[in-house]
Symmetry: C2
Subunit: 419 residues, 2 copies
């Protein structure tokens, strides 16, 4: 058995291959590359299939064994000598339609570099360590997001997830089948899965680290969120002949609803309110809209505030429907999460051992770590992202910070796999 002393001697962090890690970051960015330098890589799409093939090839070349499951989560496994639940490390490789090269991807590639470093250092871990790319974190093709990690953690069943459709009417089941057909030689494992611990590295998507000039954030937790889909039904009619008083204008009703809910969310100054999706039908300039369909996304660290909004939002939407009818579905409700104290401490020590400054930060964005935190000790490591900008082609993280995250992960995973 590898002892703590042996681990220290083995120096896995020192074996992180920085050049290879950064070259892979470039390589993955080509799958779904946008003309503006960003990435458009929807969950379970062709670009993601190509990116998975790269990950599988890289993992195999480094002696890792790929696995997948019925939802096309992807695992690259370094075996342990004990029959024990694995230490999981990773993030996701799907992106927003106007996404960047770093969100999700750095967490998967830093994890792979860390596990390769452990192997290169000659460490044979007690527990298996698995690099994971969770299916559909972003929720832009299929909603809600974090499907893969929620199913792995047993928070949702596969049967609940497979029938969900994208805008074109394709189900998760159909899209996942296409992905699994593409990597036919990767063995399938059942869901939910086992987990001894989970660590996820990610860009901060905020400005705390950048402002403080600190390269690493030990994430204390994730703010809560509630997500809705609202369908307002009015009646199509001629824009030039229908008197104001006779109109059932779904767009104008939706506007009143959104203004009222935005007011509501100003109760707490730090509540974030976003309508990112908005569509009308028939969407013709001379026709009064018969239907409006939109999303509401609210985020708030204080669960009490979020609970009050959960009551008030549907009431407010209904109160402003006017002559239209409204259907409100809450598609996700995740209370705030506090990450595992012990695991946060392990990450801090790993950073300290490398002489790297680190500070506590809170995550405003949701992550797959939220799902895993429900079933195993879980923590996250943030690196700065320029200007706090993410979900945008100009998203940027420094190479040295990405490499540093991989080194901290290497030390941390070696400890965790020994536990």
């Amino acid at each position: 058995m590898t002892t703590a002393t042996a681990l220290a001697t083995a120096d896995p962090a020192g074996h992180v291959d920085a050049g290879r890690l950064l070259a892979r970051l470039d390589a993955l960015a080509r799958h779904g590359a946008r003309a503006d330098g960003g990435v458009d890589r929807p969950a379970l799409g062709a670009a993601e299939i190509a990116a998975r093939a790269d990950l599988v090839a890289w993992g195999r070349a480094s002696g890792l064994t790929p696995y997948t499951d019925g939802l096309a989560n992807l695992f690259l496994r370094l075996p342990g000598f004990a029959d024990a639940a694995p230490v999981l490390v990773g993030s996701h490789i799907d992106s927003q339609p106007t996404g960047g090269r770093f969100d999700g991807t750095v967490g998967v590639l830093a994890a792979l570099a860390a596990v390769e470093a452990i192997r290169a250092a000659g460490i044979r871990p007690k527990r298996p360590i698995e690099v994971v790319a969770w299916m559909n974190e972003e929720a832009c093709r299929f909603a809600p997001g974090m499907m893969g990690s929620e199913a792995y953690a047993g928070l949702k069943t596969v049967d609940q997830i497979l029938p969900i459709k994208d805008a074109a009417g394709t189900t998760v089941g159909e899209a996942a089948a296409a992905v699994l057909a593409a990597d036919r030689d990767v063995p399938l494992r059942p869901l939910p899965g086992r987990a001894h611990a989970f660590v996820e590295a990610h860009i901060e998507q905020g400005t705390v680290l950048e402002a403080a000039g600190v390269p690493l954030g030990i994430v204390t937790g994730i703010q809560g969120t509630r997500r809705y889909r609202i369908r307002v039904t009015g009646e199509a009619a001629h824009a030039g002949t229908t008197a104001r008083s006779d109109r059932r204008d779904a767009l104008m009703a939706a506007m009143r609803m959104i203004a009222a809910v935005e007011d509501l969310t100003r109760e707490a100054a730090d509540t974030l309110f976003t309508v990112g999706l908005f569509e009308v039908k028939p969407n013709a300039p001379s026709v009064i809209p018969a239907e409006a369909f939109f999303s509401i996304d609210v985020r708030q660290a204080d669960d009490a505030v979020l609970d009050r909004l959960g009551t008030a939002i549907p009431e407010t939407l209904a109160a402003h429907a006017g002559p239209c009818s409204v259907d409100v579905r809450e598609i996700a409700h995740a209370p705030s999460v506090a990450f595992d104290e012990g695991l946060r401490c392990t990450l801090s020590k790993a950073a300290a051992a490398l002489g790297a400054p680190a500070m506590d930060v809170f995550s405003a964005a949701g992550h797959d770590a939220r799902s895993l935190a429900r079933v195993c000790p879980t923590a996250m490591l943030f690196i700065p992202c320029r200007g706090g900008v993410s979900h945008h082609p100009s998203e940027h993280a420094e190479a040295e910070h990405i490499v540093l995250a991989a080194r901290v992960l290497a030390t941390t995973l070696a400890r965790l796999a020994d536990g």
Copy 2:
């Protein structure tokens, strides 16, 4: 030469073939038929090409000669014995995406039935009479609408119209070329064209006739309109990590603009304000919208009110842009139109001769007659439409009213062609 007395004896109205007219109404409704009984027949699309083929075949079978022009307006010509500008009669066959079977179509088919009746009555007119189906009245595929009639009247040049694109990026030029290729054996004529007079029958798209229980409306004029396209540019950013104060949310800016312009249009109680088109990019639930694109359509009979709005709307839009930028394009501005007194009188007399009650009505909707009114005596004949509903699959007009309109047109056209 046919004298007025001879015309009265010939009784063209009595030769209207009601059964054939109604059967053709059913036949045209099959081109672009929606499952809900409505019609979706965009300008210059495949369904319109099929509908045109029917019109050409019906016209030829009745001894009329088809013509077209560079914008794919379609004409079915009954020759006159003098070399004179034609009397034009017709409407359009394109529809809104959620359109009905009557808007536009009844005007073309009643016109065809009227011209056939004139021929069947043995009348050889002095002036040619041409049934016309104007290209793109509705403005839902290509904007603004009334392209065909505006070019015929010389209000716009073909070169101004051909480069206009639909949502898929197809230009009018490309789409028109496909239509013209489909009816290769129909001779092309130059634009602008000649016109001695124009008469258009149409469903009212309002409730005045229905409420009064009167089957025919002699249209006094058309209310003015201004139409805009507004592009709001903000910045895409993460919905969970971007503080309210750091956001450049294009959707929220667009909502503020629309609310403010709606307020503005309440100065006059009868101003109609519609946002029928509204799109956001990237249209993802977790991404703050980087762009919002929407239409504004205002209608008002009083040109002074419309002029004030023309100044105030762009100012108001700019004033509510907040942290976003806004680009405002006015794509159409049509002042109110008053139709020709003499031609209205001719229509009234034709109705009276048939013993049909008629009343004056004002048109809230725009029509191709607006374009022709700029270059020749022009008038319109309305028939009731149930509940005032149009641009909707439930749009309905009574068969007896459609036939009556054809009969009034037959008498009117015979008089006009003799002038």
